[in-house]
């Protein structure tokens, strides 16, 4: 087990498989697309400009550099967090006003929250592969890498 130091922005504890990208995410462009509006209520990245196109963020510990784009982002996260359909935690290099907004709104209005943490060392991208089980723990200020995924057949 490896531990990576993190800086808590919104407190909490969560675990799940990592979904990692070095490309900033535009949540509005990613989420406000027809497949996610359908009754299945998926949370797939549907931004054709993004390398994670088609990947579902639900239950994932999302590791990315920063959030870009529209100020609708807060509402996207407010819904994803309030209805527990979104990522388990946000692990970012640089936190942003829009990331915070949605999570704070969900917390104040609906009593639901997810941890948001910042990391400093860009080596995190190389050390975390997609689907590796990780835990975010703001109490001990670490990101724990719990195990490696089963290699693809």
């Amino acid at each position: 087990m490896t531990e990576i130091p993190i800086r808590p922005i919104v407190d909490g504890r969560a675990r799940g498989p990592a979904l990692v990208t070095r490309q900033p995410i535009n949540f509005t462009a990613a989420m406000c697309k027809v497949p996610n509006i359908l009754p299945s209520r998926r949370a797939e990245i549907r931004d054709a400009h993004h390398e994670l196109f088609g990947r579902n963020v639900a239950g994932r510990v999302l590791v990315f550099p920063s959030c870009i784009g529209s100020t609708h982002t807060g509402l996207v996260l407010l819904d994803l967090v309030s209805y527990e359909r979104g990522p388990a935690a946000l692990v970012v290099e640089r936190c942003d006003s829009l990331l915070i907004s949605g999570v704070v709104l969900a917390e104040v209005w609906f009593g639901k929250s997810i941890p948001i943490v910042e990391f400093e060392d860009p080596a995190v991208y190389a050390r975390l592969a997609n689907d590796v089980e990780v835990e975010v723990d703001t109490g001990s200020r670490v990101l724990r890498i719990l195990d490696c995924p089963v290699p693809a057949a």
Binding site: I9, V10, P24, N26, T28, A29, M31, C32, K33, V34, N36, I37, R46, A48, H49, P65, S66, C67, I68, G69, S70, T71, H72, T73, G74, L75, V76, L78, D79, S82, Y83, R94, C95, D96, S97, L98, I100, S101, G102, V104, L105, A106, E107, V108, W109, F110, I116
Partner: protein
């Protein structure tokens, strides 16, 4: 965070429990960024004008505010409507649109319905502190007007409008407004401000870029900033010798040397352009994201009138600008040419129009190109050529 007596009373429920919650949102939002106090805002701008069932939590919060009689405390404007398209599928999607508009108007919001609020309804001046949302409006207010707003989310914008406060951090403070990245424009032979905005958004991401001098028009600054705030999260930029906090490069960088310099080449701009096949296949040509000003509509419209249009051409205008255009002879000429003049949000309206008409959109908007699935980008001249406004022989 230190609260004033007035703020503490509001937090304790002097204005009701719902208003206290709105203040709590702002306090926690500010605390995450180390803000030490809440400061008054001169105006607010809201972006949550669409009633789309994806965002159910937001509408529940707005409903609670209206039910408890909460009202905005500062002048507050509102983003465009999503458009009314009365085919059956759209009736379902937008059936609650008018209800949502009445909810927002019940909060005391000015029903200007424009993302370009700074042209008519909401006119900040240099140094004003704002509680705005809408990334394209925020970047314009910071960069071109010299007012100060962070990139506030929908609903946080409402919390700020009804409390009249915003946490003091980020772009409200001098040290975060200084340039971080020098963008050398000397490699560009044919300026295309919107393509440049897209390229700079990718390069700068969340930093403050400083562009070497170019005499951009006000409309170019509007459209270029919107593109930067789409492909990146650029919240403020400077143009040497043009924008108010950049009389020269040294001032723009606060006396420090730039941490990084990048040179944008002509090929970087050209790389964004649609191919000839894509241009030929495009079924709709869309202008105005952010919405067109009167000046833009006159400039582009004058080049279209009397031409035989090769594809449907849509203008998306600031509602007030469209009213002013309607008073000019050009307006009737444009209608006679076949140009459609709308005042709604092109992204919302075209998402549906494409979805059910399956037509690709060609646009000179760096922002619309980013957000609208399937939209292709071309420079203004290329788009006008595709529309039929420039003869094929004119240097094609």
């Amino acid at each position: 965070m230190r609260l004033t007596d007035e703020q503490q009373a509001m937090r304790d429920g002097a204005g009701g429990e719902i208003l206290a919650r709105c203040l709590e949102v702002i306090i926690r939002y500010g605390r995450a960024f180390g803000a030490e106090r809440l400061v008054p805002i001169r105006s607010a701008h809201l972006t949550g004008s669409f009633r789309i069932f994806f965002y159910t939590a937001y509408y529940e919060i707005v409903r609670q505010l209206v039910e408890h009689g909460v009202r905005v405390r500062v002048p507050t404007t509102l983003n465009p409507r999503p458009g009314y398209d009365y085919r059956p599928q759209n009736r379902i999607l937008f059936r609650s649109q008018r209800w949502h508009e009445s909810q927002l108007e019940a909060l005391g919001v000015t029903p200007n319905y424009s993302c370009v609020c700074y042209e008519y309804a909401n006119l900040p001046t240099f140094g004003d502190v704002l509680g705005w949302a809408e990334s394209s409006a925020i970047i314009f207010a910071n960069s071109v007007i010299g007012a100060r707003s962070n990139r506030n989310s929908i609903m946080v914008d409402i919390c700020q409008a009804v409390t009249g406060f915003t946490p003091e951090f980020g772009y409200l403070l001098d040290e975060h407004r200084r340039g971080q990245l020098l963008v050398d424009l000397s490699g560009i032979r044919r300026m295309d401000a919107q393509a440049l905005g897209h390229v700079i958004g990718r390069l700068a991401v969340d930093r403050v870029p400083v562009l070497t001098h170019h005499p951009f028009t006000r409309a170019e600054l509007k459209n270029m900033g919107a593109a930067m705030a789409s492909s990146g999260s650029v919240t403020m930029f400077h143009v040497e010798g043009l924008t108010p906090e950049a009389p020269d490069l040294a001032s723009a960088f606060g006396g420090r040397p730039p941490a990084e310099t990048v040179r944008v080449e002509q090929s970087d701009l050209d790389a964004l352009a649609a191919t000839r096949d894509q241009i030929r296949d495009a079924g709709i040509i869309a202008f105005g994201c952010p919405q067109m000003t009167l000046a833009e509509a006159v400039e582009i419209g004058s080049r279209l009138v009397g031409r035989r249009l090769r594809k449907p051409v849509l203008f998306h205008m600031i509602p007030r600008a469209a009213e002013e255009l309607a008073a000019l002879p050009l307006y009737q000429e444009l209608l006679a040419t076949g140009v459609e003049i709308h005042t709604h949000c092109p992204l919302a309206a075209l998402s549906l129009r494409i979805g059910f008409g399956n037509k690709d959109v060609l646009t000179p908007s760096g922002k619309l190109h980013y957000y609208l699935a399937g939209a292709r980008y071309a420079s203004l001249d290329e788009v006008l050529r595709a529309a039929g406004a420039i003869d094929a022989g004119d240097g094609a």
